[in-house]
Amino acid sequence: MSRMRLFMQRVGWPRVIIGLFFVLLVVASPLLGLKLTDVVSDVLRRWALFGILVLAMVPGVQSGIGLNFGVSLGIVAGLIGATTSIELAYRMGGPARPWTELGIAFLVAIPVALIFGWAYGHLLNRVKGSEMTVSTYVGFSAVAFSKIYWAVLPVKSGTLIFPYGGEGMRNTISLEGTYGGLLSDPDVTANQPGILKWMAFRIGGVSIPIGTILLFLFVCFLVWLFLRSKSGIALSAAGENELFTRSNAIKVDSKRLQGTILSTVLGAVGIIIYGQVYGFLQLYAAPLYMGFACVAAVLIGGATTRRATIVNVIIGTLLFQGILTTSLPVIQRLVPQGSRLSEVVRPIVSNGIILYALSKTKGGNQIEK
């Protein structure tokens, strides 16, 4: 009994409840006529797809800027990289080189994210105490500015260009033929040579995007390593106790800057991986609420506004995305009213989880015993 209670204390009630709900949904789906293999494939795919974006929360929280609602800024940087790489490939001509294009997307996106993160970090250092509010606005305005950018850019590539005006970029850009599914779709990887064939495969009807999962875990490992390095430990201390950190000759502001930049870069990397799995890049308003989804996932995973760990990210993404992907088909089966209902239910489920997660964080009083 006491061991049970200890386990509950360690895992935390919110995770137990959401976890049980998730299991219930998965168990219910075959009973309602859904294919279990499809459900599991979907959950794995969504988990791998969202992981790095959620991981972007960790350095922010640890360095003391709180939950980085402004991760949209990093997402915009990632989209700039991704679209630039497609345009470059088009202008160079020649056959499709998906791996090179993926590489170029990262090569362009990361420096842009560094610059964005640097400026954003300086801003956050000036609004100490209300970072989370400001970061929400930064996220929104970054998306708004990026809309102008997408609309006026003189792109030539057919996949990017807006079909009717012939100017600016379109809303949804297909990555078919470039790097879409390269690390996640068994149908795509089947045509790859050598070991690359094994970046995704099917076992008994369940498709496993192992390449993306490994990449996600590898980035997690890098961040974990960083947090255990001298610099990372100082960064975590800056987030926990500013005076303590200052009294050890560490500049708190530069640590916060470091955390913000890292978070922004992870956001950029995350959205490219997201596009790779999803098969599409979504421009314009799509990144607007992505920050909220990331925040919700890490909170469900057990993070607070002051502390977040890699385990929080891995568990939180699985629970949040898992529920999101399984709940809709299940509800649709239960109430077969056509596709209208799902449009109504989707925001209720996702925002409901966000609300529940936020209500369970203890906010700023974690420092007390």
Binding site: R228, R246, S247, K369
Partner: protein, 536 residues
């Protein structure tokens, strides 16, 4: 000035959570006299005043024992409002004024004079129109009663500090039936001329038959204006006397006098000191720390000595070290073993071999949500790059070394814990202090600075911490600078004690100097020892 006392508190005792802060204290104030209440920090002055005003903090902690009589009548004061009705007022140290209101409005706030209107007849007096004329007249009257010649329609915002204090006094005077005013350290924030003016005003007030309780640590002011005085020490009444019957030296001695148990034999003083080598030298050193200003301090501390900084709260003894470590902006020169510190560079002292245990243990000294291990090795790892191993671009924490070192420290300082991974937030105060000490010692510093090492820890642990400091000093020859509000503590271990007053070193005294000398130095009047013969 004879007759029945305006206020008489008899046999007042008070304890907070089993800690006796007042023991059977009497306080008597006669009408129209200035009665000084003197004592060190923690002597019980504030608690006594809190009881008088019926502050909630008293009642929520189990009330008090004893009787309070006002003008010969036994009363029980349950809250500050009742105290006001009994004619007791308070002039606060921090001004409780509304900056954007005029002087009149500030004086009459909460007690406005209204003229009835149609609305107020229906909705009650809250809808009265303000009778500004009458209010202005009252304000004018109150101001002239304290001889202040200032336009009553001026806004408070731009006034000099001294005037703000006078407005505050005028507000109390204006209350009808005021019989007793309490001045809590009123001169602490004033310049010298303003302070003199205030003392004059106090006399003017008492000439009008109002009694004053004057709380202060400036003994010269007590001598100058007070008619009688009560001395408290450690919650006990030491003496009630007429001011003309006691000398400043006597007051000072009685304020301090306490038995000192020496942990280091005096004959051993400077047993490991090297009087030739200066460990730390400050020249015209100033620190801009709010509430703990240091204003041009000069001092030399020798290698291997235990040097104490003492003095009353707010005088700057804490500011010295915070400035030195770069936590607050500092000016002037500081040398560590002859090397000049770059004061504008954060934590330069750390790199030059000075380690620091903060007075604010939970706020500055510890990462409460982290393990003992992380806390103990933190500074050494960040400053001296120890407990690390390289892996590609990363300098990673070396868990094995860190754990071994932490276990050594836990054994050395006898930290009571479940293991190196226990969070420091769940340790007791004494053990938290030891973790802070362990963190400082891990850096193997040449100079160890400890601020308020025994604050908030129980008596047994206090002695242990002090003994550890002495042991470190003797065995490693480490120079120790100790900052403490508790003079007894300083006198039990230090080789020399600098008393800080008004941001400067008032006097450097040996630990066996007389109580009088310490008392006078703390009041910032060490010169008068010579004047009055200096015996106690």
């Amino acid at each position: 000035m004879d007759g029945p006392p305006i206020l008489s508190m008899k046999g007042i005792s008070k304890e907070y959570f089993g800690n006796q802060v007042l023991k059977n204290v009497d306080l008597t104030v006669k009408p129209g006299e200035i009665h000084a209440l003197v004592g060190e920090n923690g002597a019980g002055k504030s608690t006594l005043m809190n009881i008088l005003f019926g502050m909630p903090v008293i009642h929520t902690t189990g009330g008090f024992k004893g009787e309070v009589e006002i003008a010969g009548e036994k009363v029980s004061i349950a809250n500050p409002h009742q105290a006001m009705e009994h004619g007791i007022g308070m002039v606060h140290q921090e001004f409780m004024l509304i900056p954007d209101f005029t002087i009149t409005e500030n004086i009459k706030v909460g007690r406005e004079i209204g003229r009835p209107t149609l609305f107020s007849r229906i909705f009650g007096p809250a809808m009265d129109i303000l009778d500004r004329q009458a209010m202005r007249r009252d304000a004018r009257k109150a101001l002239s009663r304290i001889g202040l010649n200032i336009e009553e329609y001026v806004k408070v915002a731009g006034l000099p500090i001294g005037f703000k204090q006078f407005v505050e006094i005028a507000r109390e005077i204006d209350k009808t039936g005021i019989k007793l005013l309490v001045f809590d350290e009123p001169t602490a924030v004033l310049a010298e001329t303003e302070a003199d003016r205030l003392l004059e005003i106090m006399k003017m007030i008492t000439d009008q038959g109002i009694a004053i309780i004057f709380i202060t640590h400036r003994l010269d002011e007590v001598k100058a204006v007070a008619d009688s005085l009560t001395i408290l020490r450690d919650g006990e009444l030491v003496e009630r006397a007429r001011t003309e019957d006691v000398s400043v030296t006597e007051i000072a001695g009685k304020m301090i006098g306490r038995k000192v148990e020496r942990l280091v034999e005096l004959s051993d003083t400077c047993r490991v000191c090297d009087m030739e080598t200066t460990a730390l030298e400050l020249e015209n050193f100033s620190v801009d720390m709010p509430g703990e200003q240091v204003k041009g301090m000069d001092v030399s501390i020798y290698k291997g000595e235990i040097f104490g900084f003492g003095g009353l709260a707010g005088q700057g003894k804490i500011g010295v070290i915070n400035g030195l470590m770069g936590l607050y902006p500092a000016q002037g020169d500081a040398f560590v073993f002859g090397e000049k510190l770059q004061l504008d560079k954060l934590g330069d002292a750390l790199f030059k071999g000075v380690a620091f245990v903060s007075e604010d243990r939970r706020g500055v000294g510890l990462l409460l949500n982290e393990s003992i291990e992380r806390n103990v090795i933190f500074s050494t790892m960040q400053i001296h790059n120890r407990f690390l191993r390289k892996l590609g671009p990363f300098k990673l924490l070396n868990r094995k070394q860190a754990k071994k070192h932490t276990l050594d420290m836990i054994e050395l300082l006898d930290i009571r814990c479940t293991g190196p991974q226990q969070k420091t937030g769940s340790l007791s105060g004494g053990n938290q202090q030891k973790v802070c000490l362990a963190r400082a010692l891990s850096m193997e510093p040449e100079i160890l600075v400890v601020a308020e090492p025994t604050r908030g820890i129980d008596i047994g642990a206090k002695k242990l911490v002090l003994e550890h400091l002495v042991k470190i000093n003797e065995e490693l020859g480490m120079t120790i600078i100790m900052i403490s509000s508790e003079l007894v503590e300083l006198r039990s271990v230090c080789d020399r004690i600098a008393i800080v007053a008004e941001g400067k070193i008032e006097q450097i005294l040996p630990p066996d100097a007389s109580d009088v000398a310490f008392g006078l130095a703390m009041s910032g009047m060490s010169d008068s020892v010579a004047l009055e013969g200096g015996q106690a």
